[in-house]
């Protein structure tokens, strides 16, 4: 990758990251479907990792997670009723989302664009399910668990609608990553070399 390509990559990623994060925390309430809004940050990290490899997934995931922590943040109830601010949870979670997206089904899917949507769905299911489990454990440990959602609610009213919205949101995001960047023609050349596919069209369905 020459300097020009590197500069383009950094600038385009920076624009994506800032836009996605600001859109999510400022206007997500205006675009709701089934009472939920698309988790653009998660979709973006999952697709970046899936399409452009482990390094991109990790770096983009950590930065997006950092901004998620900064803009919204996680607070957990403390043992003595005093809430505790946890900074870095988003960074850690999204770092692993980026990693997971870059390795999950890589060989079988061969980073075919449209199958990125499936990747988003899988990662969404995993992320929201884990969040419910961690939330339940944190509340139980701190002794602040009055009630918790039923399994039925978690599946049909929380995870499923959110996965659906994320899948819908991943379609325009996929086109953006394909046609606008961060790499020319939507392909990271070093990844193609790794697969040695003859027709070099391995990313199309």
């Amino acid at each position: 990758m020459n300097k020009k390509e590197r500069a383009r990559q950094i600038i385009v990623y920076a624009i994506y990251i800032i836009s996605v994060c600001c859109l999510q925390v400022s206007f997500s309430g205006n675009f709701r479907l089934l009472g939920r809004s698309c988790d653009l940050m998660l979709v973006f990290v999952a697709l970046a990792g899936y399409l452009f490899g482990t390094r991109d997934g990790l770096v983009v995931g950590a930065i997006v997670g950092l901004l998620r922590d900064y803009f919204s943040g996680t607070v957990v109830p403390g043992v003595n009723l005093e809430p505790i601010v946890l900074f870095g949870v988003g960074m850690l979670a999204f770092f692993y989302i980026g990693l997971l997206a870059s390795v999950l089904f890589r060989k079988r899917f061969r980073r075919k664009y449209m199958l990125g949507i499936l990747q988003v769905a899988l990662i969404s299911i995993l992320y929201y399910s884990l969040c419910h489990v961690i939330s339940f454990v944190c509340l139980s440990v701190s002794g602040n668990l009055n009630t918790y959602h039923s399994f039925r609610y978690i599946v049909f009213s929380s995870v499923c609608p959110q996965v659906m919205i994320n899948v819908i949101g991943s379609i325009p995001m996929l086109f953006l990553l394909r046609f606008v960047g961060p790499y020319r023609k939507g392909v990271r050349s070093s990844l193609i070399d790794g697969y040695s596919v003859e027709d070099r069209k391995w990313q199309s369905v």
Binding site: V25, G29, G73, L81, P83, F87, V89, S135, T147
Partner: protein, 322 residues
């Protein structure tokens, strides 16, 4: 060493450990790691503000087109209303002067006059159910610093919204009343009203409700009972309206619970007011007159109407103006 870190697994494990260390150290009160976001604040807040303004302008533009006819009609009605209001303002001004005279005469204490009220606009909202803290545009440069404690946050009608959790240079994080980590000591707003604990609840927050626990065994709460802050604990001044009881559950007599609907509508709030005590000596607990409460908590975007917002003589600063 370099070769070791070239191994991807080792590098990932190392980064993970660093992140876990940041989370753990940042959670310790007073830790320098809790100030890790301050440099980010300087860069990100102006960008976020620009996004917010662009979004609002686009939204306003489309609203203006879509609602053109309606606006024109409304404009005519408003002109008539303005003429009427101007007359009322004149009357109100006279009443205000009279009130000031009476106040001096009877030494009536204004509610929360020992508090400095900082107006702020909401910059960002929750990212999802688990990242659900609100960020507002005032920070340490406006005198909001939570290193020694926290501050109550209210809406334009003085209804409780939440508390300040952390501050950066130009922004602060607010823990909303519906969050499961939030809790406040409250009392029923009657003479010698029972003291209870209002907490956020994972299940109830989807319906915009809070949980009421630690209800004394002999107390029966009725739907419609108003709860205000009790002042216990020292964080929230006494008398801030919280909301009304929606239901009461006494199936377990040893642990009766109730649900409460907060007055403040967190999802639509645009402006908030942070109550900062003027000094350590002034952290008294003056009572707020119950009439200040209201269930109508539609967000008031006009931070310019500072004196109206609190209904008190407390000094008000606008984050936007600074």
């Amino acid at each position: 060493m370099r070769k070791l870190f070239q191994n991807k697994v080792v590098a990932i494990v190392a980064v993970t450990l660093i992140m876990i260390a940041i989370i753990a150290l940042g959670a310790i009160p007073g830790s320098p790691f809790s100030k890790i976001t301050k440099p980010l604040s300087v860069i990100l807040d102006p960008i976020q503000t620009v996004f917010e303004k662009i979004g609002t302008k686009i939204s306003d533009f489309y609203s203006a087109i879509a609602e053109g006819m309606e606006i024109r009609k409304e404009n005519e009605e408003l002109r008539a209303e303005i003429a009427e209001l101007e007359y009322e303002v004149q009357q109100g001004e006279e009443a205000r002067i009279r009130w000031e005279e009476l106040k001096s005469a009877f030494s009536i204490q204004d509610s929360f006059e020992n508090y400095h009220i900082h107006g702020a606009s909401v910059l960002s909202r929750e990212a999802d159910e688990w990242f659900s803290v609100i960020r507002v545009n005032v920070g340490t440069d406006s005198g909001i610093d939570v290193s020694d404690g926290s501050f109550a946050v209210v809406d334009a009608r003085m209804n409780l919204i939440g508390r300040v959790m952390s501050t950066d240079v130009k922004s602060s994080k607010i823990l909303p009343i519906l969050h499961e980590g939030f809790n406040v000591s409250a009392k029923v707003n009657v003479v010698n009203g029972a003291v209870v604990l209002v907490t956020g609840d994972v299940v109830l927050k989807n319906d915009g409700l809070c949980m009421v626990t630690r209800i004394p065994a002999n107390v029966v709460l009725q739907p419609g009972d108003e709860l205000v802050t009790s002042g216990e604990g020292g964080l929230f001044p006494a008398g801030i309206p919280i909301g009304v009881i929606e239901s009461f559950d006494n199936t377990d007599p040893s642990h009766p619970t109730a649900t409460l609907r907060p007055y403040a509508e967190i999802s639509s709030i645009k402006d908030v007011f942070i109550m900062v005590p003027n000094s350590e000596d002034d952290k008294g607990q003056p009572e707020l007159t119950p009439s200040a409460s209201s269930s109508d908590t539609t967000s008031d975007t006009s931070l310019a109407s500072e004196e109206v917002t609190t209904g008190t003589q407390a000094p008000v600063e606008s984050g936007e103006d600074e």
